[in-house]
Amino acid sequence: MISVKNLNKSFNGVSVLKDISVTFEAGKTNLIIGRSGSGKTVLLKSIVGLHEVDNGEIWFEDTLFNKLDFKERKKIRKEMGMLFQGSALFDSLTVEQNVRFPLDMFTDKSAEEKDERVNFCLQRVNIINANKLFPAELSGGMKKRVAIARAISLNPKYLFCDEPNSGLDPITAILIDELIKELTEEYSMTTIINTHDMNSVMEIGEKIVFISDGVKNWEGNKNEILTSDCESLNDFVFANALAKKLRATDK
C-alpha cells in the first residue's frame, strides 16, 4: 500500500500539485487519470522520488519515503518496477541484457539462474525469439512488454506505469492493460498507472483517482465513474462525440 498525504509540488513558483491525499491499495490496479498537463506524471514521479516534493508525505507501507536519504531509498527502490511512457529501454543493450540488468546489479544469482529468470519474464510478457534484438529493432508494443519484463524481473512490490498505452493501437493497448492487471494480481503488487485512455479506465480501473489542474477532484472505481456528479470528471469522461451521444441516449 502507498499513501500520499497533503502533497504539494511546484516548479519555478508554479504550483503543479495542490494538497493531494490518496491511498493506493495493494493487489489492485490504481489509476491516476486526468487531462494532459493536469499533473499526473508529476504526481507519479513524485511518488517514486524522481521529483522532490515541496511538502507532504509519501508512505510506502509504514515507511515515510520522501524523508529518506539516497541510501535508505535504495532499499525501497529495489522493490519498485516502472514502465515509462517511452519504455526507457537501454539502447546499447539487447532485450535479454535489458531484462537481466537489475538481476546483474542487485542479485548474486548464478548466470544460469539469471538466464532462467530472464527467459521466464520474457515468456510471461509473450516476447519470444527476440532475446538478441536491440530496442531499436522492436515495435512499440514489444518495447512496452520488454519494459514490463524488466520491471518485474526482481519481483517488485510496487509497479508504476506512466501512460502504458500511449502510441499503441487499441488491440495492443488492451493486451498491455490485461498484462499489467494479471501481473498485479499474480504478484500482489501495488500498481499505479497514469493514463488518459478511457478504454484502460473501463477495463482495469479498480481504483481511480481523477486529477484536474493539480487537484484531486474525484476518487472511485470503474463502476462509479459513469454515474459521478463531478462536473470536471464528466467533461473528461464524456469528452468525445460518441460518449456524449451515448450519455444523452442513456438519460
Binding site: K45, V48, G49, L50, F70, R73, K74, K75, R77, K78, M80, G81, M82, F84, Q85, G86, A88, L89, F90, D91, F101, P102, D104, M105, F106, F160
Partner: protein, 247 residues
C-alpha cells in the same frame, strides 16, 4: 554570474555522485572495458592520421624557416620532436578528442536523459551518475596517455617521412636531431597534461549531457556546449600546467 556559480556548484555535486562507492564492481569493470573501446580504441585512427600530418607540416615549416646555413640541419628533427612532445601530442590531440569524445559523451548521456533511461536507472536504485560517468573517466584517464604516446611516435615518424621524401633533411640528420639534447621530463610533462585534459573533457561533457532538459534540440546544444566548454577549460589549464610544470 549567479547562473555561472550555480553551474559550478552543480558540476561539483555531480562529481561527488560520480565518485561515490560503486554498486557492483564487476558491472563497473565491464562498463569500463566497453568505454575503452568506445572512447579509446576508436580514437586511435583519427589521432594517428592527425599526428602524422602535424609532424610532417612541422618538419617542412621548420625546414623552410631555417634555410640559413648557420643553423645545423638536425635542428629540424629536434624541432619536430619537441613540438610533438610538448604541445601537439597532448594539447592539439586533446582538442581533437574534445570534439570527438566530448560530443559523443554529451550526446549519449543527454539522449539517455531525454528518453528517461537515466530515470529508469534511478528508479532501480542505481547511482546513474556513477554508473554512466565513472567508467568513462577511468577509461579516458587510462587510455589517453596511450593516445598521447601514439601521437608522439606517429608525429615524429610523419616528420621523418616528409623531411626525407621532400629532401629537406637527410634521414641521418633527422634521427640525430630527435636524439639530440633529449629531456625525458618533457614526456612526463606531456602525460601529466594529458591526464588533466582527459578528466576535463570527460567530466565537462558528461555534465552537459547529464543535465539536459528538453528534447533533441537541447541534446544537440549540450553536445556543442560540451566541445566548446571543454576546449576552453582545457586551454586555460594548458597555460596553468605549463607554468607549474616547466617554470
Amino acid at each position: 554570474m549567479l547562473k555561472f556559480l550555480t553551474q559550478i556548484g552543480l558540476y561539483f555535486l555531480l562529481l561527488k555522485k560520480v565518485f561515490s562507492k560503486p554498486e557492483k564492481r564487476v558491472i563497473y569493470y565491464k562498463q569500463t572495458m566497453r568505454e575503452f573501446v568506445n572512447l579509446g580504441l576508436t580514437s586511435i585512427g583519427i589521432i594517428a592520421i592527425i599526428s602524422f600530418f602535424m609532424g610532417a607540416v612541422i618538419t617542412l615549416q621548420t625546414a623552410y624557416n631555417t634555410e640559413n646555413p648557420i643553423y645545423p640541419k638536425y635542428l629540424i628533427g629536434l624541432g619536430c620532436r619537441d613540438s610533438m612532445i610538448l604541445e601537439f601530442s597532448s594539447t592539439i590531440a586533446a582538442l581533437i578528442l574534445a570534439g570527438k569524445v566530448g560530443s559523443n559523451i554529451a550526446a549519449e548521456i543527454g539522449t539517455m536523459r531525454v528518453t528517461e533511461q537515466i530515470d529508469a536507472l534511478e528508479i532501480m536504485g542505481v547511482n546513474s551518475a556513477s554508473y554512466l560517468i565513472l567508467p568513462k573517466i577511468i577509461a579516458t584517464l587510462l587510455f589517453n596517455p596511450i593516445l598521447t604516446l601514439i601521437a608522439i611516435i606517429v608525429g615524429i615518424f610523419g616528420g621523418w617521412m616528409a623531411g626525407t621524401l621532400t629532401g629537406v633533411i637527410t634521414s641521418e640528420n633527422f634521427i640525430y636531431g630527435i636524439q639530440y639534447a633529449f629531456i625525458p621530463y618533457y614526456i612526463t610533462y606531456s602525460l601529466i597534461k594529458t591526464l588533466f585534459f582527459a578528466f576535463i573533457i570527460t567530466s565537462v561533457s558528461a555534465f552537459q549531457g547529464y543535465y539536459v532538459d528538453g528534447g533533441s534540440l537541447e541534446v544537440g546544444r549540450a553536445s556543442t556546449k560540451a566541445v566548446v566548454y571543454s576546449s576552453v577549460i582545457l586551454l586555460l589549464f594548458n597555460v596553468i600546467l605549463t607554468q607549474l610544470l616547466l617554470s
